[in-house]
Point group: C2
Chain length 202, copies 2
DNA sequence: AGTTAATGCGAACATCCGTTCGCATTCAAT
DNA sequence: ATTGAATGCGAACGGATGTTCGCATTAACT
């Protein structure tokens, strides 16, 4: 990378490049995404691409950060509205806001989230997980009894992963047997029931 | 592919090649796995590889089938023992048998399952899912009340995905806060509670 | 032992990849 | 309008990849 972008045109370019990268990944997956294709979709040259990103990895890191930021932004946006609802409805609202994001822009975010196990992508899932843990923790504070809180880390882990991967899987190839809303409803049931019950075991 | 393997040495070779492919994927991921590396690990030449597999894709398909077969074999093996236990214990046994497989052979199966969203790999997850649905259905037959059974497809879908991806994620990078057994326990709680309760909603 | 078909090999080929670099263009400041 | 820096370009480079093909080796059968 030669320098930080100083002129307006180049700042817009960084944005175009990231957007183009996401489009490429959404179209043909991460493996088939090349610097040349990204440049082509962005309407620039490969050379310009390398002025703002040291290498392909750095490009992917930036794009992953974009995904994570987008998810977290949605989540944070709805958090203030949650105290007005019961647990199940809160979960439903939360999941719907993420699901809406995955539906946007021809599934650009969805395609990215699907590649979570690619090197350099895992950090994103961990950031999302951490934020969700925090939100659950806030809901729990002083309201639920000790036993529920004690098992919260494990239960949260399981539930967050369950929610994320069910959404990714369903949106990637929706089952004809139930709708998006039914899926989210089932997940909301799952999460709220499991948290409130405190999990049957000792 | 020139011909079907007729001699013993060549039949063993097909096996070596598949094993080598899995080792390569486990070591450096699917993206970094090349025909040359596979041949090297298998101790053969690239030319020989192409005698038994038309192209790289066919190799991957075969390897994915291997993974699916291995998982289903384990599952089918423990199914007859399930009626002796309650639902939660049944789920625990089932999950443990899959988890054991993922632990085997330096995580060869785990690495493969992580790449489920790669093209040509999704069929495997669907086969596993179908089998699990069948098992759950058998357990349900005549034993659970109508309302539980009616919601079974959706609830099963959610729970199976929750179980698979929680296992894959945990085994891929285990959390230091809880053990493998605790994770499986939590999943068993989740699945059994959710199925038996019939899900709180209408 | 000799013959033939099956099997194994690996250098060679075309293609594509990530990345670089010298040059052309544009911008901002004078 | 001139200048010097910032930005944009794309042909070119070295290396890796999937795949092929003619030849060497091995097994099976007479």
């Amino acid at each position: 990378m030669r320098k930080q972008p100083r002129q307006k045109r180049s700042q817009a370019m960084v944005d175009d490049i990231l957007e183009a990268t996401m489009i490429c990944i959404a179209r043909h997956g991460m493996e088939a995404t090349t610097t040349r294709k990204v440049a082509e979709v962005a309407g620039i040259s490969v050379g310009s691409l390398y002025q703002y990103f040291q290498d392909k990895d750095e490009l992917y890191e930036a794009v992953q950060e974009r995904l994570t930021d987008a998810v977290l932004e949605r989540v944070v946006q709805v958090v203030p509205t949650l105290p007005a609802h019961d647990l199940r409805e809160s979960v439903r609202i939360l999941l719907t806001s993420v699901a809406d994001l995955l539906d946007e822009k021809d599934g650009r975010y969805l395609a990215l989230l699907r590649e979570w196990n690619q090197v350099g992508m895992r950090a994103g899932v961990e950031r999302i997980e951490a934020k969700m843990m925090e939100i659950i923790g806030m809901q729990a504070a002083g309201r639920w009894d000790r036993d529920v809180v004690r098992r919260l880390p494990l239960v949260s882990y399981v539930l967050i992963n369950a929610a994320i991967f069910n959404l990714v899987r369903y949106f990637g190839s929706p089952s004809p047997y139930f709708s998006r809303e039914e899926l989210i409803g089932a997940l909301a049931d799952l999460v709220s029931a499991q948290i409130q019950s405190g999990a049957a075991r000792d």
